[in-house]
């Protein structure tokens, strides 16, 4: 069971990820993301699936010797599940991509393809 302090730490990670202060990175495992802190700690967030293919999540804090300092599971703290999704979005720059697409808007004036039948005006000669 996580302690009060452990849960505070998960909340800290969620808040800082939302604020864009924490940079998560991808790993070779698509269900694992990593972020480094203070030059000597790192946090990993993982998603696994049980025998019945139901997903479960866990967050691990490690020191510079790769020693596991603490672990919090999603079924003990629902914020861990939220953190996984935030970390995934952060590492893949999902929000930046959405912002870029939405800020530029779409070229509504120029239809990409004509849907109506071809008329004489469409032919330039």
């Amino acid at each position: 069971m996580p302690t009060e302090r452990d849960n505070e730490f998960v909340q800290f990670l969620v808040n800082n990820t939302k604020a864009g202060k924490l940079r998560w990175e991808i790993t070779a495992d698509p269900t694992k993301f990593v972020a480094g802190f203070k030059g000597k700690y790192k946090v990993t967030i993982d998603r696994g699936s049980d025998d019945e293919d139901r997903p479960y999540y866990w967050m691990t804090l490690l020191d510079d010797s790769e020693r596991e300092l603490m672990q919090v599971y999603g079924y003990h703290n629902a914020l861990v599940v939220e953190l996984f999704d935030l970390a995934r979005r952060n590492s893949l720059n999902v929000d930046a991509a959405i912002d870029e697409i939405m800020e530029g808007g779409l070229d509504d004036d120029k239809p990409k393809s004509s849907s109506g039948p071809i008329t004489d005006e469409d032919i330039p000669f």
Binding site: E25, V34, Y41, D64, E66
Partner: protein, 169 residues
């Protein structure tokens, strides 16, 4: 006896001069010794940084080889090199982490996890063929890890060059 009394002030003066000369010499020797000690310490620090550069360079080269092994689907080669990179990074961080900025240390630590997951993913995949998604994941993690190690190497080299030019001045 009277003759000796005549010589006493001269002996006193000579003694005082000798003391002053002796003290000056001692101070001079101390200053020189301190300078030598400082130079030795600087040389040691430089040697330590050279080693950090060498270690990170070694890790960087091995990561390059991992890239080649991944392309050639030589999983045994990948497994061997990933273990080596992890050992190099762990040792380098244990010995010289104070010579890198916090950002670069975070980078090396992140790269270690990325390299580790390359090995664990390959172990999970076993002998079967990689899916395009798995392939892409391995390549992306490899590129990210290489980038972090290159950044750290760059910073260590810059630091070494700065120290080198300071010594020349």
């Amino acid at each position: 006896m009277a003759d000796l009394n005549n010589y006493l002030p001269a002996i006193d003066i000579a003694g005082a001069v000798a003391s002053v000369v002796g003290l000056s010499f001692t101070i001079y020797v101390l200053i020189v010794a301190k300078g030598v000690k400082k130079q030795v310490e600087e040389a040691k620090a430089l040697a330590r940084k050279r080693n950090l550069v060498e270690e990170l360079n070694d890790a960087s080269q091995k990561l390059e080889q991992i890239g080649n092994f991944l392309q050639q689907r030589q999983w045994v080669g990948v497994q061997i090199r990933t273990a080596e990179v992890l050992t190099i990074c762990r040792e380098a961080m244990a010995r010289w982490s104070d010579h890198l900025s916090e950002e670069r240390r975070n980078g090396v630590s992140t790269a270690m996890t990325q390299v580790q997951t390359i090995a664990t993913q390959l172990a999970e995949i076993g002998q079967r063929e990689l899916t395009p998604r798995e392939n892409k994941g391995l390549a992306a993690a490899h590129l990210k890890a290489s980038g972090h190690i290159s950044d750290a190497l760059g910073e260590a080299r810059r630091q070494e060059e700065r120290d080198g030019s300071n010594d020349a001045n």
